[in-house]
């Protein structure tokens, strides 16, 4: 082979190695992100069982799953050092957002607060050799998109709570979603942000569902207060308490 052609082949072989390494790394991040998503969703399912199981049992179970997720983050962390964190953010963000949704729901159920980005990072921090840094970095966008997915799950929790007659829980959910809606609107007022815009319809419909359900609950309680149990036959009570939770 002539020298010039040889030169071209050698240089492009080197470029191939560089590109292959990059694509392979990207694939590994995608796989980790998928696994994190799956496990985070399991955390959410565990948390939603709080209306049937005892809180201690639920939180213990979630804690266990959380440790498993941390192992996955540790794996992903290897590929996201330095400038690679932003380089592969697009591939990592689905998993990160799903995780934030899970720990966000956890925080809400346990402490009735909105989890902060700082708290998310703390949940991702493990001690190693005296160093305590988060396993991965979380951008503001990751955080916002993660918490803006909370309405859907809070909605589920709320409907389950209504079924149990837990008025306090419903009230908390309502306040929480209203606060989220206000916050998201605030952010969207300064910046055009399509991914966040897409969440707004879901947020609004979740809020509406909860308001409607709370309305039904309130009305029924008023009805029950007005009924004198002594004057009704058993079948009459069944008719009065015809549950409609559509």
């Amino acid at each position: 082979m002539e020298p010039r052609k040889q030169q071209v082949m050698t240089t492009f072989l080197a470029y191939r190695n560089t590109l292959d390494a990059h694509y392979d790394q990207r694939e590994r991040v995608i796989k980790c992100s998928r696994d994190i998503t799956a496990l985070s969703k399991k955390m959410v399912f565990s948390l939603l069982r709080i209306t049937q199981d005892s809180p201690e049992k639920v939180f213990k179970d979630v804690e266990f799953k959380h440790n498993q997720v941390l192992e996955l983050f540790a794996k992903m962390s290897k590929e996201m050092q330095g400038s690679n964190a932003m380089k592969y953010n697009r591939q990592a963000t689905p998993g990160i957002q799903e995780y934030i949704e899970a720990v966000g729901l956890w925080r809400f159920l346990q402490y009735n607060e909105l989890i902060t980005k700082k708290q998310v990072l703390e949940s991702l921090t493990i001690e190693s050799d005296g160093n305590a840094t988060p396993l991965v970095s979380v951008t503001d966008e990751d955080y916002l998109l993660g918490i803006s997915d909370l309405p859907g799950e809070v909605n589920r929790y709320c409907i389950n709570s209504i079924g149990k007659g837990d008025r306090e829980a419903v009230s908390k959910c309502l306040a929480f979603l209203r606060m989220l809606k206000e916050g998201v609107s605030l952010v969207l007022s300064v910046r055009k942000y399509n991914n966040l815009e897409k969440k707004v319809p879901v947020l609004n419909s979740s809020l509406e569902k909860i308001e409607k359900a709370f309305y039904s609950m309130t009305i029924r309680e008023c009805e029950m207060e007005n009924i004198n149990p002594a004057t009704i036959s058993p079948s009459g009570i069944a008719a009065e308490c015809n549950m409609d939770t559509s």
Binding site: K5, L19, L186
Partner: protein, 220 residues
């Protein structure tokens, strides 16, 4: 209070807006300069090889300007956030690399190396996936630039025949097919690099047709 979280985010995004303005401005100016240089370079298609140098000299000022604006970008961007904003300037840098590639071919009849790109544009090409500690030109941007070269070469081959230059197309033919072999070594994924790579074969086809036409008429 919970709402404070959003107020703080609102402030943060507000501050970022001025950064975006700086970035977008630099990119806009670079884009304009690239277009100017590109327009000047088209002259090379109507001149013989001997006068190619005049054309490439005429765009040296544009390279100085481009270098300056990339410098501005590098001042605005902290290395850890390089990839956060990278998609904004990647297109204009691809065009800049293409200008370098075409200039070098016109002047020296060879492939522009990353070192050439560094000389013309003032920043290194990141050929080895190194962690970003300074502003760099990515390998993809460099490769996009080289891919653009194929299109110029196929046009150059056709236009050389028009000005009765039959030697140039021969050189282009050999050069392009070598370069294409190199490109075919790469394992590309379904992204913009792959799509543009797929268009190279049409340029190769055109170059080969020029060769054939000349051969068949015993002009070479």
């Amino acid at each position: 209070m919970d709402l404070q979280i959003f107020i703080d985010l609102q402030d943060k995004f507000d501050q970022e807006t001025s950064l975006y303005e700086g970035i977008n401005n630099a990119i806009k100016e670079m884009d304009r300069t690239c277009r100017l240089a590109s327009a000047k370079l088209t002259k090379a298609h109507s001149l013989p090889q001997e006068q190619a140098k005049d054309v490439t000299e005429s765009i040296k000022p544009q390279f100085v300007t481009i270098k300056q604006y990339i410098g501005e970008l590098s001042q605005l961007i902290k290395p850890e956030t390089f990839y956060r904003y990278h998609d904004r300037w990647t297109n204009v840098l691809q065009t800049a690399c293409a200008l370098v590639a075409f200039s070098i071919y016109l002047e020296e009849l060879r492939l522009a190396t990353p070192a050439d790109v560094e000389e013309y544009l003032g920043f290194k090409v990141n050929t080895e996936n190194a962690d970003i500690t300074v502003f760099v030109i990515t390998l993809e941007e460099y490769l996009h630039g080289i891919i653009s070269l194929f299109n110029e070469l196929s046009r150059l081959a056709v236009n050389s025949v028009i000005v009765n230059d039959v030697k140039r197309p021969q050189h282009i033919s050999a050069f392009a097919s070598e370069l294409y072999s190199g490109f075919q070594l790469l394992n590309l994924k379904n992204d913009s690099l792959r799509r543009r790579f797929d268009s190279i074969k049409y340029d190769i086809k055109r170059i080969e047709e020029v060769q054939y036409d000349l051969r068949v008429r015993n002009l070479i």
